[in-house]
């Protein structure tokens, strides 16, 4: 498998930061009440991750043993602060809603983990690709989580889209049903939903593996040698 394809598979599925590494749970669980806020936080995390990985890859020769961690955190914190400022300037109303959690991206361990495990040992191109695919892996999981929790917990979908796209998107909110399950909106619901997603992923992996095993134990395949 070529390296970029395997990087994509790693980030999106096999080593997904949210479903397998279980990193960044604080923002993952706290912001995933609705699809739109989840998606926004996911995108900002993705951008910060790409930039942080790129810069850390570029400065890897100065990452001396004693100062490696503080320097990496400095880079990540700088990127997050920049993203926070830019968001206040460009998406003010959205920032009003999830601004508190932008600053918390610094504490999203996905970023430090990718810097420490990957970016500081690899060349620029690979580090950027890693940031992108890991970020995308986080993005799709948090968006799915937000979507599920919004539908079950509130009975709507796409609420608050106008905060991103302007007032014309106000009527795009879909009302799916009118019997919301409060627990899904609260913290326990976040853990439960994520747990079910992790279980589902593992289930799919096991099913996939046993299919592969069946293929090997297939009589025709076995007769071959």
């Amino acid at each position: 498998m070529n390296p970029s394809k395997s990087q994509a598979l790693e980030g999106l599925w096999q080593n997904n930061p949210a479903l397998v590494q279980l990193l960044g749970l604080c923002p993952l669980l706290a912001v995933s009440q609705t699809l739109v806020t989840s998606f926004t936080l996911g995108v900002i995390t993705l951008l910060v991750l790409v930039w942080a990985n790129a810069i850390i890859s570029l400065i890897q020769r100065w990452l001396f043993e004693d100062i490696r961690l503080p320097l990496q955190i400095l880079v990540i914190a700088t990127m997050v602060t920049a993203a926070d400022q830019l968001m206040q300037a460009l998406f003010f109303e959205m920032h009003q809603r999830i601004g508190l959690f932008i600053a918390l991206i610094v504490t999203n361990c996905t970023l430090l983990a990718r810097a420490e495990l990957f970016a500081r040992r690899n060349r620029l191109g690979l580090a950027i690709a890693d940031g992108f695919w890991m970020g995308l892996g986080f993005l799709w999981v948090i968006t799915l989580l937000g979507g599920i929790r919004e539908v079950l917990g509130r009975g709507t979908l796409l609420d608050g889209l106008s905060l991103l796209l302007g007032p014309s998107a106000d009527h795009w909110t879909l009302v799916i049903h009118t019997s919301p399950l409060l627990i899904v909106t609260l913290a326990p619901g976040a853990f439960l939903t994520l747990g079910l997603l992790v279980a589902l992923k593992n289930r799919m992996d096991i099913a996939h593996e046993s299919r592969q095993a069946n293929r090997v134990s297939d009589p025709i395949a076995r007769r071959k040698p």
Binding site: A30, V31, Q33, T34, T37, I59, W62, F64, D66, I67, P70, L71, L74, V75, A77, T78, T81, A82, Q85, L86, Q88, A89, F92, E93, Q96, R97, I98, G99, L100, F101, L182, T185, L186
Partner: protein, 183 residues
């Protein structure tokens, strides 16, 4: 100096410079956003886009709202620190009898998702429309008052209701008629 220490210093300076530049660019834009946002919210809650807003005399923060020369109400800024996190700022639009025409939260740092009940136009906020001090007690029903709280957001609910009550008490001290419009 050791190379490691030097590196850290240089990196910190570079980071500070970068943030400084971005912040220099963003600050006026953010300021404009805040002003626009506030104005948009105010016009929305007085339900009169063509209204003229005349600021109160210090130290109260608020506006007399007049339309075609006659007073239709007042706008009051209220805030509290009793919420879950940081301060909650909101605007109250009152009619001439000191009843709430409408209200909107301007800024808050309550937990996203859970504290969302205080967002503009929420069902929970709508229970305050058309209420006033004469007929309502501004505490939660569970505290012996007249308003519902939201499960999971009791602290936010309580802070908000009490903020409204205090705002209304302060508002009574304001003369209802607008001052003469500035010539």
């Amino acid at each position: 100096m050791k190379p490691a220490a030097l590196t850290l210093v240089v990196a910190a300076l570079a980071a500070a410079l970068l943030i400084g530049f971005i912040s220099e660019w963003a600050k006026p834009v953010i300021k404009t956003n805040q002003v626009n946002y506030q104005e948009q919210v105010l016009r929305e809650i007085v339900k009169a886009p063509d209204a003229i807003l005349v600021p109160f005399a210090e130290p109260q923060t608020g506006y007399y709202v007049t339309r075609s020369g006659s007073a239709i109400g007042t706008l009051h800024k209220v805030s509290t620190h009793q919420g879950y996190n940081g301060s909650i700022d909101a605007w109250l639009a009152l009619d001439l009898t000191h009843s709430i025409i409408n209200l909107a939260t301007l800024t808050h740092q309550e937990t996203p998702g859970i504290g969302d009940i205080i967002h503009r136009g929420s069902t929970w906020l709508n229970q305050f429309v058309d209420t006033g001090l004469t007929d309502y007690r501004y505490t939660l029903r569970r505290d012996g008052g007249d308003f519902d709280h939201v499960t999971g957001a009791t602290i936010t609910s309580r802070a908000y209701v009490e903020m409204l009550g205090q705002g209304l008490v302060h508002a009574r001290a304001i003369k209802l008629e607008a001052r003469d419009e500035p010539e």
